[in-house]
């Protein structure tokens, strides 16, 4: 299925890197970058609803202004945004067990992944 990717990360380099890898992906239809999670939240609210489009979000945790946890809180407060065709992957450099445990409490999160993005990761996400 054609997939629209959103990457949310305050680090410009990870945005750029993510875009490079995702553009090599077989399922990629578009890649949109956000260095501010509040902007990403707006984009998700306003996205086009259609059954043959899939949305995948790569979310960093440690960010100024609105961090990954804050983003997930805000998202889960609006259940209508969380339909089947949207998947959230946490993509972080944190190997902190507390962060990993905390993420498990968010039902909206599909998987917890560790940076950096790789070709295998893109293939894995495309296939699931």
């Amino acid at each position: 299925m054609k997939t629209h990717f959103y990457i949310i990360d305050d680090d410009e380099l990870f945005l750029k890197l993510g875009k490079m890898y995702l553009e090599m992906g077989t399922c990629t239809s578009s890649v949109t970058l956000f260095n501010d999670a509040t902007e990403a939240l707006k984009a998700i609210e306003n996205r086009e609803e259609s059954l043959d489009q899939r949305y995948v979000v790569f979310l960093d945790l440690n960010m100024p202004i609105l961090n990954g946890f804050g983003f997930l809180e805000a998202l889960e407060k609006k259940p209508k945004l969380l339909q089947k065709n949207i998947q959230i992957y946490v993509l972080t450099s944190s190997i902190n067990q507390d962060d990993i445990e905390r993420i498990k409490q968010y039902k909206s999160v599909t998987e917890y992944l560790n940076k950096p993005m790789t070709r295998e990761m893109v293939q894995h996400v495309c296939a699931s």
Binding site: Y21, N62, I95, K115, P116
Partner: protein, 375 residues
Amino acid sequence: MQTLKKLFPFYLRLDKDLNIIEYGRSMGKLLHENGSFKDHFKFIRPNFGITYSFASIAEFLDQVFILELFHHPKKVRFKGQFIIHHEHEDELWFCGSPWLMSVEDLQQHDLFVTDFAQHDSAIDTLLMLNQNLLNLQDNSKMIADLKQKNERLQQVNERLDAIVYAITHDFRAPLLASIGLLQLPESMVLEELPEILQTLKRLDRTIIHLNELSKNEKIALKFSTINWEELIRESYHNYSVIYGIKIPIHLSINETTPFHSDTFRIRTIVNNLISNAIKYARPILEEASFIKISIHTDPSSCIFTIEDNGEGIDEKNLENIFKLFYRASIKSQGNGIGLYIIKEMVQYLKGTITVKSVKNEGTTFTLKFPNQKLE
């Protein structure tokens, strides 16, 4: 021999069969008869591998003993050591004193401070405790000191936690980005080399910052005359090169008296402030960007002001900017350490720092340092 007896008024003298043949003046207040050592005392420490024989005790000559006078209604304990005196090689001498926990113990055993040898550290402690009991002020001061130390320890602990978190996050991020870039298809990697270099430099800056932070705690203050002009020019030049931007700088120094302070800390503070002013300039302003630094010194203090028309800080973030690892901006160069270092160093120099900022208009930091006397 007489010296030994004087030093240990609670001494015991035992013969080959462990009979008590003599005891000290003060011991006499607790032990009222001679007889077998075994009938009066038991070993509390050491309590393993020791028997009531001359040979067995002799094996433990270099160890601390705790003995209990078990017939005594209060079961007094003694702490000390057995020795074999060269003039009496067939005798064991116990040299020690009652093992007391409080002043009350002393009273319970009908002992007085004069029963102890003057060198006895146990009695020093007791005397000190006693004095503090009498002197409420001292006591509350001790408690306040302890509280303060405890708070300090907690702070250090929290900072350690934060640093460990930073190492696993802020330090890993640039490394992971470099790993990611290096794993790109070969043709793309070459193009990304400058980016990788930048990223690794960023990591290095973070490490330098952390090092400055730990140095602040370790390096003693060393006062000398601060050459403001040179210090600022040098710092401005360095950071203009690092960031590849040249922001016009206006420098006004009004020095009525030379300013004396700690060069290492003043330089670190100035470096961090100038680095921020350059880093957070608004590119849209181009030539209209500015950094204004003004310095005013007098015999008692120095006021340092740095003003920019950069991106500014949101009012709601302003109270947090001096916190460790706090980042108020989405600019990724920031590591959240710089302003924290500034605050810590300003405090160390017994100075003050205030900030005024308007989002998208600019920021002004005003610092005041005491003018130190040169020795």
